[in-house]
Each structure stands twice: as structure tokens, then as C-alpha cells.
């Protein structure tokens, strides 16, 4: 691994892990889902780095495109004040 590949790898690791942490700690469920989707995009980027375009695309289609939308739908259907914003 060259230095550049190393740096890219750790960059993608950061893109995957940090949004996941933020998603877990988010008070607003909606924001949590959005951060989760960013984390999943980071996973897709890791797949790309490993040289599998098909995995990248399926990760984006299924996890980012469908599963997270399902989460969003679930969050929106919850009887909580999801529009309540902390000032």
C-alpha cells in the first residue's frame, strides 16, 4: 500500500465510523438516519477501494437507497414530534 492508498483508506474509514457515531448519538431520529446513510456511503466507498464496483453499486442501491428510506419512513410514521426542533 502506498501512502496515498493508506490515506484514502483511513479517510473512508473516517467517513464510515464518525457518521455512525454521530448517528448513534443524535437526539433527532431523522438526523440519525441521515448520518447513518452517510456512514453507509462510506462503506460503499470502502468496497470501491477494494476493487468491487458491483458491490459498491449494490451497497448504494440496497442499503443507501432502499433500507435507509425504509428507516426514514418508519421514523416519519412514529407518533413523535419529529418536527420539533430544539432552539
Amino acid at each position: 500500500m502506498t501512502l496515498r492508498e493508506d490515506a484514502t483508506f483511513w479517510l473512508f474509514i473516517g467517513v464510515t465510523v464518525l457518521p455512525a457515531l454521530v448517528a448513534v448519538r443524535a437526539r433527532d431520529a431523522m438526523k440519525g438516519v441521515i448520518w447513518l446513510s452517510i456512514s453507509l456511503i462510506g462503506v460503499a466507498a470502502l468496497f470501491l477501494m477494494l476493487g468491487s464496483t458491483v458491490l459498491l453499486l449494490f451497497q448504494l442501491i440496497i442499503y443507501v437507497g432502499a433500507v435507509t428510506v425504509l428507516y426514514v419512513w418508519g421514523v416519519m410514521l412514529m407518533r413523535t414530534e419529529i418536527t420539533e426542533r430544539s432552539e
Binding site: S37, L57, I61, V64, G65, V69, M76, I82
Partner: protein, 705 residues
């Protein structure tokens, strides 16, 4: 070396040529004035320290990424801007097609004023969006609010870039481009619910919720209905799928069910009518786009139509043979030979036809309810896509396990194929048997009513449009309409009854300057302030001599109050009103120099497209005024050739015919010995029994009050 024929250029070669040009332009631009250069360079993120004509070194920033060895400067930029321009033009054309076709389905004309056939209308609409305010909701989640149009347009643009338009013309060559486009389609729901959620508006939020549910219900059949195509063609590449169709025939014949399912799923994904629940205007103001305004709203619109282009292109590429066209020959004579067309032309013709079909759908169907949509997506489309995949499996069972070939009535087939088809047909028959009790009411009747709606809409298409080309033609009202007054100089006796009875005080007796009444005692005439006339007609009723009439000139509009004031002499026709004298003054200047150039060229075409004749329409704009004047003259029972001559002077042939018909009509009604029939008519009407008139309250009631 690029081939001589531009149609044979690949996009890379095109980019290479453009890159060479931009390279030279860029170096020549070193001679630009320093300030301009500075701005350009700093905006590109370059260091401006080492600037001089012909010798440029770039240090850091975006420049490093943009410039590879001082040469590849513009490749990504040119590719991106070409893609953007191409897609924008496509979107403008799509919107134009939609507006025009939808208008024709509704018997309107659609955009038609700016540019030939109104082609430029969308450009000006875009300009309008550009200068409108970009309002920001006070409590919106700003980042997500701004991100929504970016995601929508970005994903749609990236998807449009992956669509190949011919074997040679493509913006980007992406391996697995079908998957790539699917992936970008899957991104759009984010934009929708992000925008709906971030706007802090209940309409937006409900629209976003509906959208999330709808996208999910649509996405699964959307993906699964492609699976059959991919199984049969054996590739995730558009190019391979089109090549398969070139060799074996269009996929729609191999996968009819899949084509229908995919079209429905695309309509759901695009949120087009009948699946436009997320932006149902009648329930949720503008759905999830409610809080967006200005160019940001335009971006959402743009992204929507870009996705529309991608969806139509996908239908064409996957099911309708892409850029290929079958050709038929009898012997060696080509009977039907569309393959001589450039592939890109075939591709775009098909794409626009599919979009026209979408517009037809939009014109035909009402909006579904949410539960109907979800039922359709999960309970109908999804099982049917699975059936469709099974059908695709039957088709390719030969390829999976080539076995012993047997002769069947339909041709040679392997044993596996025969077994598979037998099982399939048997299953189908069993299903039909099981469902036959419910087949008629639940399946066939809805299908029949759907088809009836669809064909019925087509019957509306091409009808005579109701639109009135206002500056060129007026609504043709009956000549007996009661609008603007006319006054006969010879019959008015200056009694001022009209002024007294007028409930709005809009008639005043004024000394006539041009009148030629022989008796100097009777020279005052009523002048009309039409700005508050309510056209009750009391003045005409009360006129004892029938001097005051009302004609069919209903266009009482102007840019100032003065234009609504009709003096006594204007009412009598001695002086012309400004609007009559100079019709252009009160009207919008619609005819530009371009129109003047184009109308003679386009008139035959327009005659073909719409039953109205532009020339006739232009000539008729004085008709109402002329007819009004004629009534005025006839109301005065004037056989005065001078007055009639004045009126008929500048008449179009059509107006003259109208006046002649009117004169004929009046002549046939002249039964009595008297010449002035209008006076007669007035008095007959006055003699008719009526209820208590205005100001004719019986005295005993007055006393009682």
C-alpha cells in the same frame, strides 16, 4: 485521429478536440487584461503569482486537480458543461412537449407566443425563476434544505450522463451503467424527504412522508422488473442489452409484462400523474416543494424532468430496442428502412415518443389515493414482477441447460424448455381457474374502464382549441350584446333621462362639439365614464327616442382612466376613441420583428396545426368595434351614406360581411312605413307589460313609507 464524420466520433474524441481548442484559447487568454485574468485565476484556485502570457505555472488548490501537466485543464469541465447543456436543452424540450401536448389534450394551445411554437417560453420561465427571491423558511433545517436540490439535480445529472445515445455517442462510458442509473434513481427519495422534512411545513412533511412510502413501493418493482431483461440479455450494460435486441427483436415482445410493470414503476418513481401524491396540489399546496421558491424550486423542477428523461431513455433502451430499428426488405428492396437514420435520431425519437405517452397518461388519469398506490406497489406490482422473472427464466432455460433438442409444432426446442413451458402454462391455467370468479370484476372491468379513459382522452386530442389569440382575435359575441354605448346624433333630444336614471352616475350631459344637430337647443349629449358603468342598460331602456344603444364592443380596458372615458362625440362616432384610432396603443406589443419574419413562414403550418387562421385572426380585431359602430348607425336609423362610409372605410372583408349581414337583418325587419325601425322596436318593447320599473314606485306606497 478523429474520423471525418462527426457522427462517428466517440465522446472522448470530441472531448479531445475540444480540449485542444480550449488549450489554445486558454493560452491566448493570457493576454487578457490583468484584472479579469486575476478574477478568473483566483476563482479557479490558482496562485496568481506567476502570471504572464504563455508561461503559467500552477501551484496548489483545485488547479492541481483540474490541470494535468498544464493540458487536461478543461476535460472534466467541458464534459460536465456539455452534459449540463445537453440535459438542460433536453429538459426544456421535455417541458415544452409536456405543456404543448397537455394543452392539446385539454383543447388549449399551450405556449405559443415567444419563439416559434412557443419554444422559448420555458427559457423565459427559467429567467423568471432566476430573478425571483429565494425565500428561506425561518425555522427550516438550512443545510438539508439547501442539500435537497443539490442531491436531486446531481443524481439526475449523473444518471443522464450514463445513458448512451448511440453506439458512439455517450457522455460517460461506465461499466455496469444500468446499475449506475438504478443507484442514482435510488438516491432521489433522499432529496424528496430531506426537502420535505427540512422545510418545517406540514404540507412539505406530509408530502415527504408520502414520497418516502411511494418511492419504496415503487422502487422494488422498479428494480425487479429489470431483472427479467437482465436475465435474458445477460448483461448489466445498456449497450449489450440493445445489441441483444438488435439481434433478437425488441425486449417488449419477450417481456411484455415486464415492460408494463417497468413503465408503471417509472411513473411511480418519477412522481408523475397518476402517482403524484407527494405534490398533490389539491391537498398539499405543492407537496414537499411548498417552501421552495425561485431558482431552487426551478432546480427541483429541473431534477424532476431530468429524471423523466432518464426514465424514458431507460424504457427505450431496455424494452424498445434503444437506437436500433428493425428494417424490412422484400427481396433486396428496402420497404421499411429506418436504419439509415443516425442511431441518435432514432433514440431521441423513441425517447420523446415515450414521454409523449407519459403526457397522454397524465391527461387521462386522476390521482391515486395513498392506500391505492401502496396496494398497487406491494400487492400487485411486486408479485407480478416475480411472475415476470419466472417468465424470463422460461425464456432462457435453453441457455442455462442446453439439452436434447426435440421437434415441436413451434419449432425445435430442448426438453427442458418444453417441460418448463408446460409447467408454466399449467400454472397459468390453474391460476386463471382459481381466480376466474374474481377475474371479471377485479381485473377485466378495471382494464376496460382504463382503456376507455385512455382512448377517450385521445379523442379530445386535436380538437379545436378554446384559446382566443387575444391581440389577434376577439371573442365573437352576438351583435345584440349590451356593452359599450352608441349614440345617434340625429335622434338624441338632449332630454338627459339617461343621465338621471344611471345608478352609477357615469353619464353626463356635455355640449357636443362636433354634432350637427340642426336645432341649437338640443346640442348637449351624454358622455360616458365607462370605468364605473355596470352595463345595466337602464339608460337604453329609458331613452324615449332610441338614440342610445349598446353594442357588442366589450373590451373596455386601458392603461389609464382617461382611456375609459368616452366623450359624447366619441360615442357618436364623430371622433374616434384612442383605442379605436390606434389599436396598438392599448394593446400589448406581441409581434416582434422575429414574429413578423416567422408568421408568413409558419402560417401554413399553423393552419395545419390549429384550425384558426392567423391572418383571419389578425383581420378580425376591429370587428367588434366596427359592428358596434354599425349598430350605432342603424340604431340611429341612418341611411346616411357618409356615416356608414366612415365606418366601412377601414373594414376588413370579414367585418364588411358582418355589417352587411347586420344590415340585411335590419332591412328584413323593417315592416312598417317608417324608416327608423329601431325607434319602433324600442317602443314596442316599452309597451310590453312589465313590473314596477326603476323610479316608478306607486304613490300610495311612497305615502305609506
Amino acid at each position: 485521429m478523429a474520423p471525418a464524420n462527426p457522427f462517428d466520433w466517440t465522446f472522448t474524441e470530441l472531448c479531445g478536440a475540444l480540449n485542444d481548442i480550449s488549450y489554445h484559447v486558454f493560452y491566448a487568454a493570457g493576454d487578457l487584461p490583468h484584472n479579469l485574468w486575476n478574477i478568473l485565476v483566483t476563482s479557479l484556485g490558482m496562485s496568481n503569482s506567476a502570471l504572464g502570457p504563455g508561461q503559467m505555472t500552477f501551484h496548489a488548490g483545485i488547479a492541481d486537480w483540474l490541470f494535468v501537466q498544464n493540458r487536461a485543464i478543461m476535460v472534466p469541465l467541458i464534459a460536465a458543461s456539455l452534459l449540463l447543456m445537453f440535459t438542460l436543452i433536453n429538459v426544456l424540450m421535455f417541458i415544452w412537449v409536456e405543456r404543448k401536448l397537455l394543452a392539446r389534450f385539454m383543447d388549449r394551445r399551450g405556449p405559443m407566443v415567444s419563439g416559434p411554437f412557443g419554444l422559448l417560453q420555458n427559457v423565459w420561465d427559467g429567467m423568471k425563476l432566476l430573478i425571483k427571491e429565494n425565500a428561506r423558511p425561518a425555522r427550516a433545517e438550512m443545510f438539508a434544505f439547501f442539500l435537497c436540490p443539490v442531491i436531486l439535480v446531481g443524481s439526475a445529472l449523473a444518471a443522464a450522463g450514463a445513458i448512451p445515445m448511440s453506439p458512439k455517442v455517450m457522455i460517460a462510458t461506465i461499466d455496469l451503467d444500468l446499475l449506475w442509473v438504478l443507484m442514482l434513481f435510488a438516491f432521489a427519495p433522499y432529496a424528496v424527504f430531506l426537502g420535505g422534512w427540512a422545510s418545517y411545513n406540514k404540507f412539505s412533511l406530509i408530502g415527504g412522508m408520502r414520497s418516502a412510502a411511494q418511492m419504496l413501493a415503487g422502487e422494488v418493482p422498479f428494480f425487479l422488473s429489470i431483472a427479467g431483461v437482465v436475465l435474458i440479455a445477460g448483461s448489466f450494460r445498456f449497450g449489450d442489452i440493445v445489441a441483444w435486441q438488435d439481434a433478437h427483436g425488441w425486449m417488449i415482445f419477450a417481456q411484455p409484462l415486464g415492460a408494463v410493470l417497468f413503465t408503471v414503476a417509472v411513473l411511480i418513481e418519477l412522481e408523475r400523474i397518476p402517482f403524484d401524491l407527494p405534490e398533490a396540489e389539491s391537498e398539499l399546496v405543492e407537496g414537499w416543494t411548498t417552501e421552495y421558491s425561485g431558482l431552487r424550486w426551478g432546480m427541483l423542477w429541473l431534477g424532476g424532468y431530468m429524471r423523466g428523461y432518464v426514465g424514458c431513455a431507460m424504457i427505450v433502451l431496455l424494452f424498445l430496442g434503444g437506437w436500433g430499428m428493425p428494417s424490412y426488405t422484400i427481396g433486396s428492396v428496402p420497404v421499411f428502412a429506418p436504419h439509415i437514420l443516425p442511431p441518435i435520431v432514432v433514440f431521441f425519437a423513441k425517447t420523446y415518443l415515450v414521454f409523449a405517452f407519459f403526457v397522454w397518461v397524465r391527461a387521462s388519469y386522476p390521482r391515486l389515493r395513498t392506500d391505492q398506490l401502496l396496494n398497487a406497489g406491494w400487492k400487485r406490482l411486486l408479485p407480478l414482477t416475480l411472475v415476470n422473472i419466472a417468465l424470463a427464466g422460461f425464456l432462457i432455460v435453453d441457455q442455462v441447460r442446453p439439452g436434447e433438442v426435440a421437434q415441436t409444432p413451434l419449432g425445435p426446442a430442448s426438453q427442458e424448455t418444453i417441460v418448463a413451458w408446460s409447467v408454466g402454462i399449467l400454472t397459468f391455467l390453474v391460476m386463471v381457474g382459481a381466480y376466474s370468479a374474481r377475474l371479471m370484476p377485479r381485473v377485466l372491468q378495471p382494464l376496460a374502464s382504463t382503456a376507455r379513459l385512455f382512448v377517450g382522452t385521445l379523442g379530445w386530442f386535436g380538437g379545436r382549441p378554446f384559446t382566443v389569440l387575444y391581440p389577434y382575435e376577439r371573442l365573437e359575441v352576438p351583435l345584440s350584446e349590451r356593452w359599450l354605448h352608441g349614440l345617434s346624433d340625429e335622434k338624441c333630444i338632449s332630454c338627459a333621462r339617461c343621465c338621471r336614471i344611471c345608478p352609477d352616475n357615469c353619464l353626463n350631459m356635455v355640449e357636443s362639439e362636433k354634432g350637427q344637430h340642426p336645432d341649437p337647443r338640443f346640442t348637449t349629449r351624454p358622455a360616458l365614464d365607462a370605468s364605473h358603468c355596470m352595463f345595466c342598460g337602464l339608460c337604453v331602456e329609458v331613452c324615449p327616442t332610441g338614440a342610445l344603444t349598446m353594442g357588442p364592443n366589450y373590451e373596455l380596458s386601458g392603461f389609464s382612466r382617461d382611456e375609459l372615458y368616452w366623450s359624447q362625440d366619441q360615442l357618436m362616432g364623430y371622433t374616434k376613441h384612442d383605442m379605436q384610432e390606434n389599436p396598438k396603443k392599448g394593446e400589448m406589443e406581441v409581434e416582434g420583428p422575429l414574429d413578423k419574419l416567422l408568421y408568413p413562414l409558419l402560417t401554413p403550418v399553423l393552419q395545419f396545426v390549429t384550425p384558426h387562421n392567423y391572418e383571419r385572426a389578425k383581420g378580425s380585431h376591429v370587428d367588434a368595434n366596427v359592428a358596434s359602430s354599425a349598430i350605432r348607425a342603424l340604431g340611429g336609423a341612418s341611411s346616411d351614406d357618409k356615416e356608414m362610409g366612415l365606418i366601412v372605410d377601414n373594414m376588413s372583408p370579414r367585418s364588411r360581411k358582418a355589417v352587411e349581414m347586420l344590415l340585411e337583418d335590419m332591412r328584413t325587419r323593417r315592416k312598417g312605413p317608417r324608416d327608423d325601425s329601431a325607434w319602433d322596436l324600442r317602443h314596442q318593447r316599452k309597451r310590453e307589460p312589465k313590473g314596477s320599473g326603476f323610479g316608478e314606485t306607486p304613490p300610495d306606497e311612497e305615502d305609506g313609507g
